[in-house]
C-alpha cells in the first residue's frame, strides 16, 4: 500500500513541477508589442505589461498565473485578455465535450470490436478491417469537414454543436479501442474455456458476448492513456472546427497569437489531465486485476 501511495504522490508532484517549468520557459521568451495603429503611441512596452500580469518570470512568480486563473482575473497581455473565469468556463465545456466523446467512442469501439472478432475468420473480415484503416489514414479535420457538410445536408445545426464535435473526436479513439478490444476478444476466443463452452453447445454469439467479452474488457485499461491523448488532440481540432469555445480552441488560439498567460495555464492543465488519466488507469487496474494488486504490494 505504501508503494501505491508513493506512486500517487510522485504522479501528483509532476503537476506543479510541470507548471513551474512551463512558466519559467515561457516567461523567458521575447515578446513584442502588437499594434496596427497608423501612429505609434508611446506606451508600447510589452515586457512591462507582461510582468504586470504574469509576474517577473522568477520562481516565485509562477503562482501569479494561477492566482489569476482561480481569481477569475485577466490572464493576458492583449487589451481584451481572457480572464481566469473565461478559462474555467472553457475548461468545463471541454470536459463535458470529452465525456460525451468518450461515451460515443466506447459505444463505437464495443460495436466495432465485437463485429471484428465475430467476423475474424470470414471473408468479410477484410472489409471490416478497412473502416479503422481509413479512419487512421484520414486527418481529423477532414473527418470534421465531412461531418459538417453532412450536417448541412441533413439540416442539423452544426455551429457550436458539442455532439457533432464529440462525434468527430470519438472516431479515432473509438477505432483504436475497437481494434484493441477485438484483438483481446480473438485471443480469448481460442482459449480452452471458450472451446469447452462451444463444445457443450453454447452458441457462438453467446460465447462471444457472455464469456469472452467480460474477460477481454481489462485490456481496455491499457488503451485508456492513448485514448485520453487522442481525445485531447481531437479537442484542438474539433473545437476549432465546430466553433465550440472550449479549452482546446483557446489554447490553439493563444499559441497562434503568442499569448503567454493562456499558454502557461493551458499547458500545465493538459499535463494534469494526462497524469490524472494515467493514475486513474493504474488504480482501476488494481481494482480489477488481482495479479496487478499482488505486484503492487
Amino acid at each position: 500500500m505504501t508503494r501505491l501511495a508513493l506512486r500517487v504522490l510522485r504522479d501528483l508532484m509532476l503537476v506543479p513541477l510541470t507548471a513551474v517549468l512551463v512558466y519559467l520557459a515561457v516567461m523567458r521568451l521575447p515578446y513584442r508589442a502588437d499594434s496596427d495603429r497608423k501612429i505609434a503611441t508611446a506606451d508600447n512596452d510589452a515586457r512591462a505589461r507582461l510582468t504586470a500580469v504574469l509576474g517577473d518570470g522568477s520562481l516565485g512568480g509562477a503562482v501569479e498565473p494561477w492566482r489569476r486563473f482561480f481569481g477569475g482575473e485577466p490572464l493576458g497581455v492583449r487589451a481584451d485578455p481572457y480572464t481566469g473565469a473565461d478559462l474555467r468556463q472553457a475548461l468545463g465545456r471541454s470536459l463535458g465535450l470529452g465525456a460525451r466523446a468518450l461515451l460515443l467512442a466506447l459505444g463505437w469501439a464495443l460495436a466495432l470490436g465485437v463485429l471484428r472478432a465475430a467476423t475474424a475468420r470470414r471473408k468479410v473480415a477484410a472489409l471490416v478491417d478497412v473502416a479503422p484503416a481509413l479512419v487512421f489514414g484520414t486527418p481529423l479535420f477532414l473527418l470534421a469537414l465531412l461531418a459538417a457538410v453532412t450536417a448541412v445536408e441533413w439540416g442539423v445545426p452544426f455551429q457550436g454543436s458539442a455532439w457533432l464535435a464529440a462525434l468527430v473526436m470519438a472516431v479515432a479513439p473509438g477505432a483504436f479501442v475497437g481494434v484493441v478490444l477485438s484483438d483481446a476478444l480473438r485471443a480469448e476466443l481460442v482459449r480452452p474455456y471458450v472451446r469447452t463452452a462451444l463444445a457443450k453447445g453454447c452458441s457462438p454469439a453467446r460465447a462471444l458476448l457472455r464469456h469472452a467479452l467480460p474477460n477481454a474488457l481489462p485490456a481496455l485499461l491499457d488503451a485508456l492513456a492513448p485514448v485520453a491523448t487522442s481525445l485531447l488532440v481531437g479537442s484542438f481540432v474539433a473545437e476549432s472546427f465546430f466553433g465550440v469555445q472550449g479549452f482546446g480552441r483557446l489554447y490553439v488560439r493563444a499559441a497562434q497569437d503568442v499569448d503567454p498567460g493562456v499558454v502557461v495555464v493551458a499547458t500545465s492543465l493538459f499535463a494534469a489531465v494526462l497524469i490524472a488519466v494515467s493514475l486513474a488507469a493504474e488504480l482501476l487496474r488494481l481494482a480489477v486485476d488481482s495479479r496487478a494488486r499482488k505486484a503492487a504490494r
Binding site: L29, P30, F136, P139, L232, V233, A255, Q256
Partner: protein, 262 residues
Amino acid sequence: MNVRALAGLGLLGALAALALAHAALSGGAVACPFGVDPQLPFETVCAQAVGGLWRSAALGLTAGAGGCVLAVAFALLGRRLGKGADLAVEKLAELFFAIPDVLVLISLGFVARAVKGGESVSLPWMMVALTAIGWAAPTRMVQNRLRSLERLDFIAAARALGVPEGRLLLRHLMPMAWDFLLAIFLMRVPAIILTESTVSYLGFGLPVSEPSLGKYLGSHWGLLLQGNWEAVVPAWALLVAMVLGFQQVGRGLLERSEGGRR
C-alpha cells in the same frame, strides 16, 4: 511476405510511379486535369499535390528513421549502462509517450513564433522537431523486444561461453531485431505524417508556398465548401493512400516478425 504487406507495397509503388510520371510529364506537354491551385495560381493542383507528397514522405521517412535510430541508441545505452539506466530510459520514454505529439508541436510552434516571428516553419525545422518528439514510442518497443530476445536459449548459451557483451549485441541480438525495427519504422511514418498534417491544419506547419499534403489540405479545405473539389481531392487521395500504404506494409511486417517468433 504476407498479403497485407504486398498490398501496402503496391500502393506505395503506385504513388511513387505517379510522382515520377508527373515529374516526367510536367514539361507542359500534358495539362493538369485539376487546373491551377486557386491559392497560388502559378502552380497546378497536380504540382502542389505531388510536391506535397514528396515533402510529406520526406518528413515521415526522415523523422521516422531518426526516431528509430534514437530509440535503438537509447535502448542500447540503457542496456549498456546497467539496470538502473535501463529503467530510467523506460520511465522517461513512458513519460514522453504520454504527451501528445500535437501538443508538443504546437508549443514548439508558439516558441518559434515568439522567438523568430513568422507563422510557418521550414522543412528541416519540422524534420528535427518531429524526430525529437518521435523517439519515445519506438524506444519502448525496442526495449521490450531486446528483453524478450535476451531470454532465448542461445543468447544465454553465448553469454555462458563468454562472448563479450558488445559482440553479443551486434552479432546476435541486433540481427534478430532487424525486421522488427523495419516494421516499427514503417508504422511510425504514417503516424508522423498525420501528426504533421494536424499541426499544419492548426496553423503551425510549413509555408503555404511549399506545402506538405497536410498543409495543403489545411489551407485549402475551405474550397470544398464552395464545391471546388478538383483542387482538394487529389491531395486528399494521395495522403490517404500514402498513409494506408505505409500502415499496411508496417503491419504486415510486424505480423510476419511476430509470427516468426511464435
